[in-house]
Amino acid sequence: MIEHFLPAASSYAQDIDNLFTLIFTLVGFWLVLTEAVFIYLIVKFRKKDGQKAEYYTGEEKHLKRWITVPHFLVLICDIFILVGAVNVWYNVKQQLPEADEIVRVIGQQWAWTFVHAGPDGTIDTDDDIAIVDELHVKVGTTYHFKLEARDVLHSFSVPVFRLKQDAVPGRVITGWFKPTKVGEHDVQCAEICGIGHGLMAARIFIETPEEHAAWLAGQRPIALASANTPQRVED
């Protein structure tokens, strides 16, 4: 369903979309059924002249089961949703697969800095490439991202990956993604971070290994010491 609006471009995007569809189906069924019963009762029991309403306390067994049975059915639906949700969550947030490459993502008022591994393929070396507001990744490669914030909370959101993670000053939060489709998409800051929050837009470029190599060749390593190491003001 989400894919109707936005492509799914990471290995787990489809799982999140499927979970959304599962929940949509279950709660949609309940919503439609409940609203239908509700409207039916309103129409059926409109005031009729000379006819008094019935008297029930709600403790009658044959009536009370109209509450208790749906109640347990809701609980069963909840269990399905719980299993689905925990399953997806575990794969996206708890269980990090082995990384092929690492990228640093640094949020600050009001820009993203992305530190890519240079030609040597490892991060925190002299040939790192740090760019503002552009993230270049290879399709089919598993990335770990190391997420930091310099000043206030930010949130690293890549909608086509279905990925979102807040960046918290003072912490380095590790997450992962594996792009599955080439393309160029939005990266957002999803946590309000001051007056420039609405301007904190970046782009992600998902490239084939060849395109990525060509891009890499055109870059000059910038020894951005400030970008490699988390900036901490030591008192």
């Binding site: 309403a53 019935e54 109209w66 509450i67 969550w89 000053p169 001051g194």
Partner: protein, 570 residues
């Protein structure tokens, strides 16, 4: 028992005599009468709703027509936009939903429905309103100080809210925080009265199971508020110290932790949803039983379910923080508790719907509002499942899906529930009937336009539109024309909705003078407030009532009348 009735009656005579010739000021401004205080809360809340609604108008116009001057406001800059959305949220929850649903209805209804002459602590009650009014003035003053109003969202997450160099609103942030803290103090004082009066000051014969559901709901809501707000008041002071004294409770540079605030805020913030939800559910219970001429289905189940919901509501707060940087394993526990809380809430909805079965339904204006509450709140409830499920929240967190979801809960609560209550008790409050035709025009106009505002916002949320952005043209995937059309549609529907409120205001104020005289009990309802004149005199009951039965004895077999007031002897 008899002795206490006599004492109360004597006290009442005394009060009546003493307050016989009060000046306008002491009668309406410094009154300790619960009904006057209720009206003060109601009118202050309505005035604040106009301010909050105007803010919504200004920022929705900016979203529909970015960069263009908004008539009546001017250009909405990024800083203006943040301050507008922040204060819209703050006002609608703390200065509209709470004062109207808890304080106005609580003050008006608890003494009348419990059969006593006033709150147990009338002067504390007056103080509560005075502090509340002060808090509203303080909040409004924050828009006009140097740097403008606070713009760090109503959740006020530090470090943005803690440091002026980040928020750029040094004074605005501090004044906002002081206003919120004052508002909390006002409601702590109010809550003491609501709980004590309902528990200790009921008419003879009114057992716990004879208390109207709305009173129970306000009592439970007050308890939830008083239990949950302590940590947040402490947290608010720490934030104020961070802002003004240079402490570092939330500052990682000083070994503080920004996430601490989120826990303190949401430990309060989630129960707060139920603090405003429960009174609205209570109002709906009164209205649907009266207008379907039915006993409430399974009164005790409703009561126990409400208590259960209250307890569970303290265990779900971190579902607001799944992707906030907390330990990812915690998300599993909070998904479990969040899905669990859907069960009692679903049960309450089922019980209300079951109450209609076998009824004799009259679709008056208050009944339409009460039924619309159930129909719309169901949508708010089920869309919460998407967000309570950790896996799908990764994508939906902080998108317009969240925004549309909580407006589908808060609009039914704060607007639909409030209108159900106002239209139902208006005859009792002012002694005259509202115009039904105007009431129905206002109802359909408000409810239809509400859906046209927020259904497009669900779609935008699913498409990945995140919140609190003043201009989506900076995000190519969100700037597509089909999405801009949805934004314009939502804004247009908001204008329609605001326009229909004029119908309500006209009806409200015209009926004060021109409405048909209501009499004591225009709806033929059972609860005690309908046994006294409309509006009730100072001291409420000329003779203290005795209660013989529960509040929902409608259409009892073997009786000619289809209602049986609580105070009528067998």
């Amino acid at each position: 028992m008899a002795e206490s009735v006599e004492t109360q009656a004597a006290h009442h005579e005394d009060a009546h005599g003493h307050h016989g010739e009060m000046s306008f000021v002491s009668k309406y401004v410094f009154s300790t009468d619960h009904k006057v205080i209720a009206m003060q809360y109601l009118f202050t809340g309505m005035a604040m709703a106009l301010i909050g609604g105007f803010m919504a108008y200004a920022f929705r116009m900016q979203l529909a027509f970015p960069g263009e001057a908004v008539p009546g406001y001017g250009i909405v800059s990024a800083a203006n936009y943040n301050a507008l959305v922040t204060n819209h949220g703050t006002i609608m929850i703390f200065w509209v939903a709470m004062p109207v649903l808890i304080a106005a209805f609580g003050n008006f209804l608890i003494p009348l429905m419990c059969g006593c002459d006033d709150m147990v602590f009338p002067k504390i009650n007056r103080l509560s309103y005075q502090i509340f009014l002060l808090s509203a003035v303080v909040l409004i003053s924050s828009f006009f100080v140097e740097g403008g109003g606070f713009g760090g969202a109503w959740t006020a997450y530090p470090p943005l809210s803690a440091k002026a160099e980040y928020s750029l609103t040094k004074l605005g942030s501090s004044i906002w925080l002081v206003a919120v803290a004052l508002e909390f103090i006002a409601f702590l004082l109010g809550g003491i009265n609501f709980v004590t009066t309902a528990m200790n000051s009921r008419a003879p014969g009114m057992k716990l199971y004879d208390i109207p559901i709305v009173v129970w709901m306000i009592v439970v809501a007050s308890i939830l508020f008083m239990v949950s707000v302590g940590p947040l008041i402490a947290g608010a002071f720490m934030l104020l110290f961070d802002q003004t004294l240079g402490t570092q409770f939330y500052d990682p540079d000083g070994a503080g932790d920004p996430l601490l605030w989120q826990h303190l805020f949401w430990f309060f913030g989630h129960p707060e949803v139920y603090v405003v939800l429960l009174p609205a559910l209570g109002i709906v219970a009164e209205v649907i039983t009266t207008f379907s001429r039915k006993k409430l289905f399974a009164y005790r189940t409703v009561l126990y379910t409400t208590f259960g919901t209250g307890v569970l509501s303290f265990t779900v707060w971190a579902h607001h923080q799944f992707v906030a940087g907390i330990d990812p394993r915690m998300a599993n526990i909070f998904t479990l508790t969040t899905l669990l809380i859907s069960v009692p809430i679903a049960e309450l909805c089922f019980v209300y719907i079951a109450t209609l079965f076998g009824g004799s339904i009259r679709l008056t204006t208050p009944m339409l509002w009460a039924l619309a509450f159930i129909a719309e709140f169901l949508i708010g409830g089920v869309t919460g499942i998407f967000l309570g499920a950790s896996g799908s929240d990764i994508y939906l967190h902080d998108t317009y899906f969240v925004l549309a979801h909580f407006h589908y809960t808060f609009y039914p609560i704060a607007i639909i529930g409030t209108f159900a209550g106002i239209t139902y008790w208006y005859p009792k409050m002012f002694g005259r009937m509202l115009n039904e035709t105007l009431g129905k025009i206002h109802f359909w106009g408000s409810v239809i336009s509400f859906n046209v505002i927020f259904i497009p916002l669900f779609v935008l949320g699913i498409a990945g539109q995140h919140r609190r952005i003043f201009d989506y043209r900076n995000f190519p995937e969100l700037a597509l024309p089909q999405y801009q059309d949805l934004r314009i549609l939502a804004t247009f529907a908001l204008l329609v909705m605001l326009a229909f409120q004029v119908v309500f205001l006209y009806n409200f104020f015209m009926s004060l003078f021109k409405g048909e005289k209501a009499g004591n009990n225009p709806w033929k309802a059972n609860t005690l407030e309908w046994t006294v004149p409309s509006p009730p005199p100072h001291g409420n009951f000329a003779e203290m009532p005795t209660v013989y039965r529960g509040p929902y004895e409608y259409s009892t077999p073997g009786r000619d009348e289809d209602y049986w007031p609580q105070n009528v002897p067998n």
